[in-house]
Symmetry: D2
Subunit: 414 residues, 4 copies
């Protein structure tokens, strides 16, 4: 199998929430790969099983995106360094010039149905006072979609890109209610778009804009995004693909690794308590109970799926300023063994959220772009190992999910 | 209390170290299953995937064994209850009568090459002053094997058993050196048996006795047992099978579950420190550095196998009297993520050792007896998920090991 | 100094919430001391510094109390044994006869202003359908106080008691609001008692009943109890004493021990997160946010007092059924050291709540009865080490609090 | 940058082991205080109770020292930054110039009786091939003392210092045996000095050099130093003072804070296990069992002193390269409460060793210099809160030790 050279076609990564910690770290990580400043540690796509896949080369990737805020990218990167003691000063410096270029490719994002807490984060340009974008003068969801598509088209043309993957990294929205009652086909759902009270949240409008334009879409957040049958329908109609939802980076990753052990050993999990503390912007947004609910739902599904019964489970997430981007999760698992004997497993996970998420964003971009190139349509089930609430069917056990990724690689080689 | 009968043939479980905590808990667990006093929690063989296997029924199992000590079985069971606060008083009472019967089927064990520490545990009968057994008047390893075989034959005949599985649960021996240089075939190895300075340890003599008699053998301890090519050869010659080594119940189980996650996410494990404290007899034996070395070797192999490189690793095991049978393991895993970021996972495992081990002993008895019945010979690779240092080939990741067990079940159904 | 003999006068301990876990454990502990079944471990008053104090002898103590429930005392004791694996079966048996006697001295408690959650726990007798007590036919707070005082007087007379200490162990009430605006003198406050809408909660009415009758009162719970200036005034007027509030048994004890270390070393506590999980009735009551607020307020005060500044602090309390009476607290303390270096201390406390609380209840009974005998009036500041929110003035550091207890002993000997 | 000057006399701090992590961090901390680059966090002597003491001003302190290695000071500082992610790049830069000056005041140290492991660390100059110092051509302990005194005298004169405090920060030596049998008076002990086989270790020779010259001496390490009656005698004879031994920065600090809680609550500590892992040079030296023994002895004394009985205790220290200067201590405390109930407290301490130690070094310098100025002689008991194995008498509970420090301040003000 031959690989593309760096003379290969250029492709784009369009980040929703491009000024946030995960996005900026992903960009810095991409620059580090392009400039040879870091090894592949943390990246799944650089592991040996993926060595022969014709994944896009780092040097052929171009970044752009939307954001509702205007703070310079370099500020966020410097904050990660000074507040959270991650990234070397040398790396930060190496990114400065490239970040300035990317800056010019970031467009104001939409605030359509994002909820109060996120609106408070927005700055004037995104909040509608800017003249350089139609997005915040939108009178309907259709207008929003059109504005997003205009931005995507311009990005593609200006940079001579063959394809663009759209990845949602924005703060967690308030979840709309009763989505189960929404139309299951694209033809029915799209009727609501031209209205001023269309209930679709921003994340879904971005997904529509991408999929309708034939671009692949990845939802790395707990927001709704493409997790609607009607959007999967749209993807199929346009011959494109999508994946999500909510990147699996820490406590939930551990759950999907540990719960299968309890199941395989017939140890009954009586209760599983998880307590998460961290201090970044994500945490601030989650301090609003409405936003937090989206996150908790996303984290809470898998235990029952893996164990076959639902133990008492409690998850809490608290914003602790002093921790910066570091998340500490303490989990307490109370289980019952042979002859009715209660036992306990506790773990403490101390990880830097942005640094755990960023490589997965780059991996997902590469895998999704390849799937798109191969003509795969609809939900990309084989990416389940990357998500807390994977779209599509399948076992939630991490090892089984990873096997599905390897099986996809093998199917490709055949 | 009358017991349900079943029609199948009766089979035996012969426990080496029958008076120890794991053995007595296994016996109590078997009685609880026979009398319907406990559900299947903790037992692998009662999980749905194994429901259609023709495994031996609990009521058809008869227990006997060897031990170098003479303390009544009920004492050990009561000690577990009073010192370690496990098992209900009702269960202990329910076992009293049956334990007395089993008592009569326990024979003095051998002290051949077990090391000083274990010899100190022995009581007169085992130490050679008893007239009721030839085992401690043995002048050569052959004599020991013959005495063991006489005990096994008597057990089989007295109880009209169709088959007997021999399971080693005795305290960890000092490891003999240079075993790699020992003969790889049975015909060569057996030449040393009739000598007084035969270097084979007790655990291997028991294994020889069992395999030579066509019985299956399981080594649940870190001792050498059947882990010699020559003994595998013997098993093949006699058409029987064996498995081992060292039951995987706690910290090492966690390692085989967690290490694959780090590998699959390309997170570099820089160091893995494990500190184990517990207060049972096993711990006392391991206080001797020579015995501890056998254990540490057994625990330490798998990280390199799973990760593909060897991180700095430190394992310590300390005997802390107050903990009784409860083992607390604290593990500190220091790993490197994206862009050179160090992160940490710590866990604390608080489990009751005998209660974690006992159900696996019963599972192994059932699986091994079925394999023997089916005519499988040599090493039973499909049992790898039960062992810290599995005999035979194969991936050490727990999920992969469990898949091999399920594959064996499936091959059986076909 | 001469000590009273067991021929000394008999005194009473009257427990509010007498059927709860802490009360029943206190009673079992008292029986164990009386019968010589346990050593003094866990009891402060049996330590050497208190050896010469003329504290009441165990054999001279008689127990009675109020409760809104009717379940037999022995049931709660057995539940502690079977669900939480504490107390030996032998001890439970030894208590059976004595508990039956105490049973006859427990009277229906009041539900006046206890909040919805606690009312749901009540059984018919306490809820007003019983004819054997006026307490639940009360039309005013005065009626409640009168009914309580009648019960106390009968207890004292029936058992020929010289004195009675009243100790509140009942479930945490909803906190009344604006108590700062309430009258600060007894003469003003008592005006509201004869009304049907008197806002005083049950815990304060019990306190009034006790203090007005000249009896000492101890509030071991976060409920309001005697924590009103007007009740301290009443104590002074009647020449009696009181102490409280909220027994300091676990996480808060640790805070009052650890926070002074950070202060003395000039290490800045940036954040202190405490996450508590447990499964007893207390936990169920605290699942109601209104009741939980009382508890959180009680736990949250001391950091600022000890450190001199208020770090970000988060405390959560969750009811996890499987834990029974065992409370696990995980605390994460993020602190800043020299040259701006962030560091972390985490602890996990696994304690059995009732067993931690019960000995303190017995200690408080003994110390308070002696103070009453000596004629001390008002708030007993020297008992601060026993409480999360100590009434009275003084440093909240545990070592300083304990020094005050020792100083009281020394003042007594002089 | 111009510095504020002060009028007081200049005094010196002479560091044994001046190139090590603690020393270099202490120097950087001093520079940061002199240049106003850091607040007082982590320094005890800047707390309010010490505000009115006439402690030496930061700007009046001059640093010099001995070391057996030659690596530039700035290298160690940079290594702390890059390997352990502590200290800001700005601070490191600010220290560069000043470190170069201090460099010129560092003299080769002695290897007399330091043990093999430490000798391996030494570089040629210290190992005797340098011509610029007599210290490594010494034929007797007297010669070593004379060489050290020559270095101290030169330092004092060259820098016009009024006084010099000598502080031992060197790697832990192997402990000499049978020191209890050594002479208890200076006059007897000094007889051995002129011999080639004088058993006194280097740390004691430095102490003798300082005390004999009337300078105060502080031993911040577990090495023997001044912990001999004969050296206390010498201090009294020369009218000077000394303190030690082994700075109390982490796990032992926690022990001296927590053990008094168990004692005051009559909770019986059944076992206390401490497991320490870290990756700095100290750790490498402690990998040698002979050196480790000195450390373990120092850490292990206080539990029995505080509790009044000796629980089973286990302490382990392991060198884990990846941790750099970060020390993680996991402690497991198993205690028995009321009615024989076993409970558990675990803590994990994650601290940066050099940053915890350095401010205490500066505090000790200031307090000791003041005591010397005041004419205090012999052991400075009031500094006990700073040490794991405090010289002199007194309660080992941290709160009590800190009270003694405050009492000293108060005695001074009177």
């Amino acid at each position: 199998m031959s690989r593309p050279t760096t003379d290969g076609p250029r492709v784009g990564i369009w980040l929703i929430g491009a000024r946030g910690g995960v996005a900026v770290t992903s960009i810095a990580g991409l620059i580090a790969q392009q400039q040879g400043l870091a090894d592949g540690t943390g990246l799944v796509s650089t592991l040996p099983p993926f060595a022969n896949l014709p994944l896009v080369e780092w040097n052929n990737l171009v970044v752009g995106g939307h954001d509702i805020r205007q703070a310079p990218l370099i500020d966020e990167l410097e904050r990660l360094h000074t507040q959270s003691r991650v990234l070397s000063p040398a790396l930060v410096e190496s990114c400065r010039e490239e970040l300035a270029k990317i800056e010019s490719r970031i467009r104001p994002g939409t605030l359509w149905n994002v909820g109060t807490r996120i609106k408070q984060l927005a700055e004037p340009a995104a909040a509608g006072r800017s003249s350089d974008s139609g997005i915040n003068n939108a009178k309907s969801a259709s207008d929003v979609v059109a504005a997003v598509q205009a931005d995507l088209a311009a990005f593609k043309e200006d940079n001579a890109l063959e394809q663009v993957v759209v990845i949602n990294l924005a703060s967690t929205e308030v979840s709309p209610e009763d989505t189960d009652a929404w139309p299951a086909t694209w033809d029915e759902l799209k009727i609501s778009l031209p209205t001023a009270d269309c209930p679709l949240p921003a994340s879904s409008l971005y997904a529509i804009a991408a999929l309708d334009a034939g671009m692949p879409y990845v939802n790395f957040t707990p927001s709704l995004g493409s997790a609607l049958p009607a959007l999967d329908d749209l993807a199929h109609q346009r011959g494109t693909c999508h994946a999500g939802r909510d990147g699996k980076t820490g406590e939930t990753l551990m759950k999907s690794v540990l719960a299968p052990m309890f199941a395989a050993r017939n140890l009954e999990v009586m209760s599983w308590v998880g307590h998460n503390i961290f201090g970044n912007l994500d945490g601030k947004v989650l301090d609003d109970p409405a936003n937090k609910q989206s996150k908790l739902s996303s984290k809470g599904n898998l235990l029952g799926d893996i164990l076959g019964y639902a133990p008492q489970s409690h998850i809490s997430i608290e914003h602790i300023e002093s921790l910066g981007d570091w998340k500490t999760a303490w989990d307490h698992i109370h289980f019952r063994g042979f002859l009715n004997t209660p036992m306990t497993l506790q773990f403490t996970w101390q990880g830097c959220d942005s640094l755990l998420a960023a490589p997965l964003v780059l991996d997902l971009a590469r895998f999704t772009l390849l799937a798109r190139e191969r003509g795969e349509t609809g939900t990309l089930d084989f990416l389940a190992s990357f998500f807390k609430s994977p779209l599509g069917e399948g076992d939630q056990a991490f090892a089984a999910q990873y096997e599905r990724l390897l099986a996809w690689v093998n199917s490709y080689s055949e």
